[in-house]
């Protein structure tokens, strides 16, 4: 997509509602900004500089070459210069220079250093919540500078002085209190599973179970909770897959959420939310963990879980597996039978969720599955898929009503890529993408279904 002309301040007003004490305090954060917020923020900043090389290095070495400038979907969609990854990082870098570098302390503005004022804090809150931590910019940076690391650090600093979005903190709190991001209580979870079992019976005539809290099952499947309500075809797809392959499995009401919004807030919450998965697996005495269709959940599970709350050696297989890896393996081994024609009429393209492609190394398995379960699969242009995939526009904790304008604009590069395919169906294994795209399709007047990979597998599988 061609870069738009620069439009200063285009999205300066797009900001999420701030969380109040009722949400902040339970997460161990100050209920309101303390009087000495600046000193506290800088203290946290210093702490993170000593703890994360990605941050310390990125703040020092950026050459402002601009290779990343036109790679961010939010910049491409909005033209706001602060959405150029380098400029977004400069918001943090100018404060870094002022307080942590010799040049900035001595030369001030001449060295592009700036005080951490309330205005700067507002800029941070605006633009570090207009970054979906998708890491596309990092793919093009000659030093591998990852803006997601800078965004995460800025959010962690802000959280430490009680500045955090209502949306993200609300979701994290629900995950702690109830076990999932949607706040589905145990009774409703059980009801819903039963309802889906009836649906499955009606559709296939077989007794396909969606087990809950079943001790000693082989697999603990942790789906995004949206799969139980919004994306029920995905949930039924999992059930059919396990049934057809004869694998004993269970879900858990304690860890009924794969997603981890702690990743969008701070390390502490990332770790705490993740712990529920490990505890549930231990308690249910399963042999292994399988993660459902969710992008950042996969990052948290495959890259972080063992470090955060491991070792996972109490499991027979300590390697968490993604449902797409499992399904592709079962197809390769011939353990499930498929009828491709069941998906005839659908012309499908695949949207790589950022976290699967750039942080989870999972790009080929979903394609393998799609090619096995349908006849008409087509790719979007090469510079918009795999490691160069464009975010749906709502990742990183941005899937909230207040940011609708930014979300729609940020989806533009993906929409343009989709249009070139002539497909009538967009498949993607990520609950956030699946929640975002219906709004996007409506906004841009696109026709087509939005489905999960397991939805299509579920249709083709022979029970």
């Amino acid at each position: 997509m061609k870069a738009p002309p620069i439009n200063p301040g285009a999205t300066a007003g797009a900001r999420t509602h701030r969380a109040k004490a009722d949400l902040l305090k339970p997460l161990g954060l100050p209920g309101e900004m303390p009087a000495d917020w600046q000193a506290r923020a800088l203290h946290k900043f210093g702490e993170l500089l000593g703890r994360r090389r990605s941050l310390a290095l990125s703040l020092d070495i950026c050459a402002r070459c601009g290779a990343c400038a036109d790679k961010c979907h939010y910049f491409l969609g909005t033209g706001d210069p602060n959405n150029m990854p380098v400029a977004r990082a400069e918001l943090m870098r100018k404060v870094y220079r002022r307080y942590f570098t010799t040049a900035g302390k001595l030369a001030g503005r001449l060295a592009a250093a700036e005080d951490l004022t309330e205005d700067v804090l507002n800029q941070w809150y605006t633009y570090f919540y207009q970054c979906s931590q998708c890491r596309r910019c990092a793919v093009f940076c000659p030093f591998g500078i990852d803006t997601a690391e800078i965004t995460m650090a800025a959010r962690e600093i802000m959280a430490s002085i009680g500045v955090a979005p209502k949306y993200v903190t609300e979701v994290v709190k629900k995950a702690h209190d109830i076990g999932n991001n949607l706040g589905i209580p145990e009774a409703a979870w059980l009801d819903s599973c039963q309802f889906l079992e009836e649906e499955l019976k009606e559709e296939t005539g077989a007794d396909i179970k969606i087990p809950v809290n079943q001790k000693g099952a082989d697999v603990l499947l942790v789906p995004p909770s949206a799969d139980l309500f919004a994306n029920t075809d995905t949930m039924m797809g999992y059930a059919k897959l396990f049934h057809a392959a004869g694998i004993s499995w269970t879900t858990s009401t304690y860890a009924s959420e794969a997603g981890n919004f702690g990743l969008f807030l701070n390390y502490d919450q990332l770790k705490k939310v993740n712990l529920r998965l490990v505890d549930a697996a231990r308690e249910l005495q399963v042999k292994r963990l399988v993660i459902g269709e969710c992008g950042h959940a996969w990052r948290a599970a495959q890259a972080f879980m063992d470090t955060l709350n491991g070792p996972l050696d109490f499991l027979e297989s300590p390697r968490p597996e993604h449902i797409c890896e499992l399904a592709a393996r079962l197809i390769r081994e011939g353990r499930i039978k498929l009828d491709k024609t069941k998906n005839d009429g659908l012309s499908v393209t695949y949207h790589d969720p950022c976290n699967l492609a750039r942080a989870g190394g999972l790009t080929e398995e979903p394609r393998e599955i799609l090619r096995a379960v349908l006849n008409d699969f087509r790719e979007m242009p090469a510079d918009t898929i795999r490691e160069k995939t464009f975010c749906c526009g709502a990742g990183g904790g941005l899937l909230t009503e207040e940011l609708m304008d930014v979300r729609m604009k940020g989806a533009k590069p993906r929409v343009e890529a989709y249009r070139t395919t002539g497909a009538n169906c967009l498949a993607t294994p990520c609950a956030i993408c699946k929640a975002q795209f219906p709004a996007v399709f409506q906004h841009y007047g696109l026709d087509g279904q939005i489905v999960g990979v397991m939805d299509l597998l579920g249709k083709a599988i022979i029970i």
Binding site: R53, S54, A112, V278, G361, R386
Partner: protein, 256 residues
Amino acid sequence: MALLLPALLYAAAAIFLIGMGWRIWRWLRTPSPLVIVLTPGPKTSSGVARRLVEEMFGFRSLFKADHLFWVFAWLFHLSLLLLLGGHLGGLVFPKFSQTALGLTEIQFEWLAQVAGSAVGVLAMATLLALLVRRCAAERPRRISTISDFFALALLLLIIASGNQMRFMGGLDLMQSRRFVSGWLAFSPAAPPSDPVFTVHVLLICALLVYIPFSKLVHIGGATLLSPTLNQRNNPRDRRHVNPWDALPAHSPRQSP
């Protein structure tokens, strides 16, 4: 005056070495708590080595970003590397280089003249291209700070003064060699009388002092140390411990 220039150069070199050492040591001691390698990433150490070599010597990511910009950036860095090598070979170890290359003295001086001229022109041309890009292209202009232009100007002046001596000046090559080798051997000799030589060396002093405190610090291993590029993509196969969070902060829930 004869000793002032070497003295300044010693001071600048000391600041450069200590400054760079300090920066690199600080990066090295800062842990990477989590596996954040960009995927698809190499699973093995040799794969990582290959990725880093491609990045450092081929600017692979930059190539993906912008082909034309890559051409200028890569050629510019290459020419700087060649200039550094040329100064080493031509000024510091001329005898050794001549023997190593198996050339007669006349052949060697001719090669130094031709190659040095070519690289000097290349460095100048590519640096000007980068400067024009920074001034003229909308996005690079927008993100540029004073220090970005300062770095380019400093390098431009160093290269320009070098080229002036090669193409227009009456530089005493022998005296230059004596000056440089003497300086390296801690027995300083007088610099050549050409004032441009003095300016060239003074600018180099400024650059040496400037590097550790600016973005140019990236020559100290930016790519090499970057966790998104130098980690192995194996978090499920090998335990990665966060050194500042080695113990679980929360005791695992007990089975009922």
